[in-house]
């Protein structure tokens, strides 16, 4: 295994950095988009509500691979030329945002209805109440499930390997098929993933504890 690391370490590091970069970008955008869609899901505006609902149902219920392949093959053919790395990040962002939207919606709905009513009756608008009263409470509740979504996102980023996105899994596949040392290669790849996911888990747990101490 050390031999493998010494001769293919460069490739693995390159893949690791790409996976990390893809994860960070997708994590940021999917959180923003997911939260927005989650708020729209409980909105009283019928049109926005329906739109958010359709978005979530569509992307929650089709495989990630198909979303990514769509952005890799169909979009470059008809819209704009994007490579595997970009297509992978877009697909990953959209897919994960649907899950985050559902998580955020559940969080908002778990805040007692009285909070919203109290906000409105003190003269806040709907959006102000949402922004200052409901969301802060909801986000606190959804931190643990959100953490799971983040971990899933990092692991799902291995989908980039399918569209030659130069991530950790792509290089892992290449090394495995070149050396026929499949077992050791994937153990190494798994260790690299742990380097990202374990600190992330730790971070989410700390955030959770700090919040518990506050409330």
């Amino acid at each position: 295994m050390l031999e493998l690391l010494s001769s293919y370490g460069g490739m693995l590091t390159q893949g690791f950095l790409n996976t990390l970069l893809a994860s960070v970008i997708a994590l940021f955008f999917s959180t923003v988009i997911g939260t927005l869609i989650g708020i729209l899901r409980v909105s009283q505006n019928k049109f926005l509500n329906q739109f958010a609902n359709a978005y979530v149902q569509l992307f929650l219920n089709i495989p990630l691979l198909i979303i990514v392949l769509f952005f890799y093959t169909a979009v470059p053919m008809y819209v704009v030329q994007i490579g595997g790395f970009t297509a992978g990040i877009i697909g990953l962002t959209i897919y994960t945002s649907a899950f985050i939207a559902e998580t955020v919606r559940a969080g908002i709905q778990s805040v007692p209805a009285g909070q919203m009513e109290a906000g409105l009756s003190t003269g806040f608008t709907y959006w102000e109440t949402m922004r200052y009263i409901v969301l802060p409470q909801a986000l606190r509740i959804v931190i643990p499930p959100l953490g799971n979504q983040f971990i899933n996102l990092v692991k799902n980023s291995s989908i980039l390997a399918m569209v030659a996105g130069m991530d950790l899994m792509y290089y892992g596949d290449l090394i495995a098929s070149e050396t026929f040392n499949t077992f050791d290669t994937y153990i190494l790849v798994a260790l690299f993933y742990l380097v990202i996911t374990l600190p992330l888990t730790y971070l989410m747990q700390r955030l959770e504890r700090r919040n518990a101490a506050h409330s």
């Binding site: 890799y72 053919m77 495995a176």
Partner: protein
């Protein structure tokens, strides 16, 4: 006791019969095919062909027969050697079964996308080359690529993960970027989407892709040499010489070119050297 002796006798008889039948099979394999063809009234030649390879030997369910370049060449050779193409009989073979079937005498010759190599030459004799197979580049019709030497660092070549063709292209044009996919269909889809400039693998496979997707062509001649030839059993040298003569004859009289254009319409006839 008596019963068991009788049973033993039965087994022995069966064993002897099996061994004897084995000998006859050996005798068939050793029989001189050229003599057989000359002595028999309506001699048949039995060819081993692929039934699962597009363009070379593919079973056509509607027609109920195997069709392809290999099959047509075999028919043309049979006509040349026996006077009638319908004397050709076809037996379906795979890469695994073809040499044992030839050695046992079940088939007279193999014409089944078989690449000539040293390892195989130890087991069978090969005729002259009838198809110049090798690794090639598949590009869109309007591409400016005309061979592996045109590839620069600006170009992206699409290949299949872990394949020899992926390693070959890195050796032949170290500058070009190589993206690797799970299989040919994914690599070809990526080419269609403009994710790369060419797909690389054996030209026989690429020709199969072109047959189903117009608007693409091969860029130049193959840049590796893995030619297909007809395999004939050891000890059948006279038959091999006849096959070579027949092959020369159909190349001379234009039948070969006709068949080549029938199966690979857009391609130039390569120099078989």
């Amino acid at each position: 006791m008596k019963k068991s002796i009788r049973l033993l006798g039965l087994f022995l008889t069966a064993f002897v019969l099996v061994v004897l039948s084995g000998c006859t099979a050996g005798a068939v394999a050793n029989q001189n095919i050229v003599e057989r063809v000359e002595e028999t009234e309506n001699p048949t030649l039995i060819w081993g062909v692929k039934a699962d390879t597009n363009l070379f030997g593919l079973y056509n369910i509607a027609e109920g027969e195997i069709q392809g370049f290999d099959v047509d060449i075999a028919k043309a050779l049979t006509e040349e050697m026996t006077g009638d193409a319908s004397n050709a009989e076809f037996v379906e073979v795979t890469s695994k079964t073809r040499i044992p079937l030839l050695k046992n005498g079940n088939i007279d010759a193999i014409i089944a996308t078989m690449t000539v190599n040293e390892e195989r030459k130890k087991q069978v004799n090969f005729s002259d080359v009838y198809f110049a197979a090798g690794q090639s580049l598949l590009v869109p019709e309007d591409s400016d690529l005309n061979g592996v030497e045109d590839l620069t660092s600006e170009h992206t070549v699409l290949a299949v993960k872990g394949s020899t063709s992926a390693q070959n292209i890195r050796e032949h044009s170290p500058e070009a970027e190589v993206l690797e996919f799970e299989n040919y269909s994914e690599a070809f889809t990526a080419l269609q989407s403009g994710q790369g400039d060419a797909v690389t693998t054996d030209n026989a496979i690429l020709l199969g892709i072109i047959a189903q997707n117009p608007g693409y062509r091969l860029a130049g001649d193959p840049f590796t040499y893995e030619p297909y030839a007809i395999a004939i059993n050891k000890g059948q040298e006279p038959f091999r010489d006849e096959v070579n003569e027949a092959l020369d004859a159909i190349i001379e009289n234009g039948t070969y070119a006709e068949l080549y254009h029938k199966w690979f319409p857009e391609e130039e006839i390569p120099d078989l050297g």
